[in-house]
């Protein structure tokens, strides 16, 4: 849930943006980080662990734990607690190791 009226800071959320998680639109506000905006929309499972395939989500919000890794606008392993939302941002969970991308040069 977004906090529209903060008890100390008042109404701070002004510029809404639309972000897409798994191609579904969600409402976020400009000053929020990706992980926080998803949590406001009740999306807490941001990825799966590599070995035991268990859910992972926001843990430290300081860019240290890497628990909030997601794929953002085509880039894998983005620490989503350190990146602000942008209009139209496309976000996917970090559910498995990405394929190694390779550009083929003709042959």
């Amino acid at each position: 849930m977004h906090i529209q009226q903060h008890p100390v800071l008042g109404g701070q959320l002004q510029k809404p943006v639309t972000i897409y998680f798994n191609d579904q639109p969600y409402k976020a506000y400009e000053q929020q980080t990706v992980a926080a905006a998803l949590m406001a929309n009740d999306i807490k499972r941001l990825g799966l662990s590599r070995n035991l395939v268990q859910p992972r989500g926001l843990f430290c919000t300081r860019g240290r734990c890497c628990s909030c890794y997601m794929t953002v606008n085509g880039e894998d392993h983005v620490r989503t607690c350190m990146v602000k939302v942008e209009e139209g941002m496309k976000i996917y969970p970090n559910d498995e190791d990405p394929d190694v991308r390779r550009e083929f040069c003709g042959d």
Binding site: S49, Q54, F59, C60, R64, C65, C66, S67, R102
Partner: protein, 109 residues
């Protein structure tokens, strides 16, 4: 503590796995890294180091001041290789790797 508890979130190393290595003679975090991969995931032991120090303290009766810090290597936090390799002329280890990459029209072949 329940032995299945995860201590290292990144590499998913359990209390039991660390306990096992400690009872078999490991004494430092670096020993644990080599034997279990504990602390070798993306966070580079930023989250588990205090939990591991507690375990070493409990299991081996080592006072905290004798439990060395885990080694902290460059880069200090995750960074894209592409970014790391910029301006690499004065940074020989990256340059030496990048020099081995064959480029064709600016793309990795």
């Amino acid at each position: 503590m329940d032995k299945s508890t995860i201590i290292c979130r990144c590499e998913e190393i359990s209390y039991e796995e660390i306990e096992d290595v400690l009872t078999n003679g490991a004494t430092t975090f670096d020993d644990l890294k080599r034997l279990t991969r504990c602390g070798m995931g993306p966070c580079q032991s930023k989250i588990c180091h205090s939990l591991v120090a507690d375990m070493i303290h409990e299991k081996t009766n080592t006072p905290y001041f004798q439990i060395p810090l885990p080694r902290m290597r460059m880069p200090l936090s995750p960074i894209k290789l592409e970014t790391l390799a910029t301006n690499s002329t004065s940074f020989s280890s990256v340059k030496s790797v990048m020099d081995e990459v064959e480029l064709e029209d600016g793309k990795v072949r």
